[in-house]
Amino acid sequence: MTLAIKVSGLVKHYESLVAVNNISFDVKEGEIFGFLGPNGAGKTTTIRMLTGLSRPTAGTIELLGLNINSDVKAKKLIGVVPEASNLYDDLTALENLFFMGKLYGVPKKERCKRAEALLELFRLQEKRNQLFGTLSRGMKRALTIAAALIHNPKILFLDEPTVGLDVMAARSLRKVIQELSYQGMTIFLTTHYLEEADMLCDRIAIIVKGEIITTGNPEDLKEMATKEQAMEFTVSNDASKLIEPLAALTGSRPILINSNTLRCIGATNDLLAHICKVVQEAGVKVIHINTVRPTLEDAFVRITGLSPTVMSAEKGGK
C-alpha cells in the first residue's frame, strides 16, 4: 500500500526545549492514524510541522512523496483543521467556503457544487447565510472541517477535532470522519481522548514528552494490557470494607471504582470462589460481577506509566 505520510527522525527544538524528539512513523493511504498523548506531549507541534506551518529542526516529512516545505503542490493535497475553529467571523458560512475554495484555485462551478455538498454533509444548509461568528461551537467546528475539504484533499489533518464539543456534536463529527475515511481519504488526527482514538483510529501512535512510545492498532495496544486480568463487581453496601480481606485472600489489587464497585486487578476466574466467600463473610450482597476487558485507557496506563487523569485534563488547565 502507498504511504500517505512518511516521517523520519523528526525533531523540533524551541531554544532549549525539545518539543519533538526524533520521531518516525508512516501512515498508509486511506488510514485513520491517531496521535494520542497528554497535553504538551508534542501532538500539535508535530501536526504543525507536517502541515508546513512550522519548520522542523531536523528530520524529513513526505506527503504522498512530496516535501511539504519545498513543494507547494503538497499543500494542495492536504486539508488542515487546527484546534481552534479559525474561519472569518464577518463572512457567512457559504462565503467562508467560497473564500477557501478560491484560495486553493478550485474553479467557480466546482466550488459552488462542493460548497453545497459540504453544507449538506455537515447539515449546515440552513446556516449558509449566517455569519461564522454567530454559529454555535459545534457548527463552527463542522464548518472549519468543511472549509478544509473544499479543495478535495487527499490527506486531512485534524488537531483535537472534538475538543470543547458537546456529546452529540462530537458524535456526529466522528461519524463524518469515518465517512470520509470510507471514501478513501487519509486522516491524521491528534487527540487526548482515549475513547475517541479507540473508536476512530485504524492505528495509533502514543506520544509522551515528544517521543513516540509505541505504535499499533487499538486492539494490539489493548492486548498489551491483557496480561493483567481484572474482575469488577458491584455490591449492595459499602465496598471499601472488602479491600483488605480481598487483597489478603486473593492476592489481587482491589481498587475502589465507586462506593459500591470494586475492581480486583490480577484476579482471574479461578479466584471467583474466594471472592464470593469474602463478600459473603462481610454480609453484603453481590449485585453484579464480571471480568473486565482491558480498555485503551488500561493499555495507555500500562504502556506510558502515566495516570489516566493526565488525558482527561483539558488544554489550558481546564
Binding site: 508546513g52 506551518l53 507547494v72 488542515v80 479559525n86 472569518y88 464577518d90 484560495l103
Partner: protein, 241 residues
C-alpha cells in the same frame, strides 16, 4: 506564481469586504484628514490651495494604515492569518495581499479627495504624474504600517505604535508648515520620512509648482517600500515559528 497571484487577489478582495469598506476604516481614513484640512481652510481660505498636496499625502497615509492593525494583528490572534499560510501561497504573497488591500483603500480615498479638490477648489494636477507619486506613496505607507504592526502582538499596541510615526510625520514632513522654514535639525530629520517625499511629489505634480522631479520622489518612495517590505516578511515568518 499563479497560485501566489490568485492568493494575493483573494486576500485583497476579502480584506476590502470585511475590513476596509466598513465605517471605522472609512472614518479614520477620510474624516480625520478632511476635518484637519477644514480647520486650516476656515482659518485662512486664501492660502488654502498650498495645503492641498499635504492633505492628499496625509489622506494616503491615514487611509492605507487605517485598518492594518486589525488586518494583521487581529487576524494573527484569531488564527485566520495562519489559515492563509496553509494554502498553496507563500509568506511574501500573504503579506503583499495585506499591503495591497491597504494601498487600494488608500488609492480610493486619496483619489476622492484629489478629485473633490480639483472640482471644487480649482486645484489643477497633472494626472499621470499624480498617479506616479500616489502609487509608490501608498505602497510605502502600507508596508510601513504592516512592518510596525508585525513588531507587536496586540491590536491596541499596533494602533498606538502606528500613531507615533503618523503624527510625527504630519508635523515634520511639510504637510502644513514648509520644511524650508523648519530648524536645520528637523529639515535633516524630514529627509528620513516617506511622507516628506509624498508631499514634495504631490506639490511637484500640481499647480503649486516646485522645481523638483516627480520621478525622483517616486523612486525614493519605492525605496522606502522595499526597505520596509523585507523585514516585514521576515517578521511575519517569525510569528509562525
Amino acid at each position: 506564481m499563479l497560485d501566489n497571484l490568485r492568493g494575493i487577489w483573494c486576500i485583497i478582495a476579502k480584506d476590502m469586504k470585511t475590513y476596509y469598506l466598513k465605517p471605522p476604516a472609512v472614518s479614520w481614513g477620510m474624516v480625520f484628514p478632511v476635518t484637519w484640512t477644514l480647520a486650516f481652510y476656515l482659518r485662512n481660505p486664501v492660502d488654502f490651495k498650498g495645503l492641498i498636496p499635504g492633505l492628499i499625502a496625509m489622506t494616503a497615509l491615514f487611509s492605507t494604515t487605517a485598518a492594518e492593525a486589525v488586518v494583521i494583528n487581529f487576524e494573527l490572534r484569531l488564527g485566520t492569518l495562519e489559515r492563509l499560510l496553509l494554502a498553496p501561497i507563500n509568506m511574501a504573497a500573504i503579506l503583499l495581499g495585506k499591503i495591497l488591500g491597504g494601498a487600494i483603500f488608500g488609492f480610493i480615498m486619496s483619489t476622492i479627495v484629489t478629485v473633490t479638490c480639483a472640482l471644487f477648489l480649482n486645484f489643477h494636477v497633472n494626472w499621470p504624474s499624480f498617479f506616479l507619486i500616489l502609487l509608490p506613496s501608498l505602497l510605502a505607507f502600507s508596508t510601513m504600517g504592516s512592518l510596525l504592526c508585525l513588531l507587536v502582538r496586540e491590536v491596541f499596541e499596533a494602533q498606538t505604535l502606528l500613531n507615533l510615526p503618523r503624527f510625527v510625520m504630519v508635523f515634520a514632513s511639510g504637510v502644513v508648515y514648509p520644511i524650508e522654514f523648519m530648524p536645520r535639525s528637523l529639515q535633516i530629520f524630514a529627509h528620513f520620512l516617506p511622507l516628506t517625499y509624498a508631499v514634495k511629489g504631490f506639490k511637484s505634480v500640481s499647480t503649486i509648482g516646485t522645481t523638483s522631479l516627480p520621478a525622483l520622489h517616486a523612486a525614493i518612495l519605492l525605496g522606502f517600500f522595499t526597505l520596509f517590505l523585507f523585514p516585514a516578511i521576515k517578521l511575519l515568518g517569525k510569528k509562525f515559528q
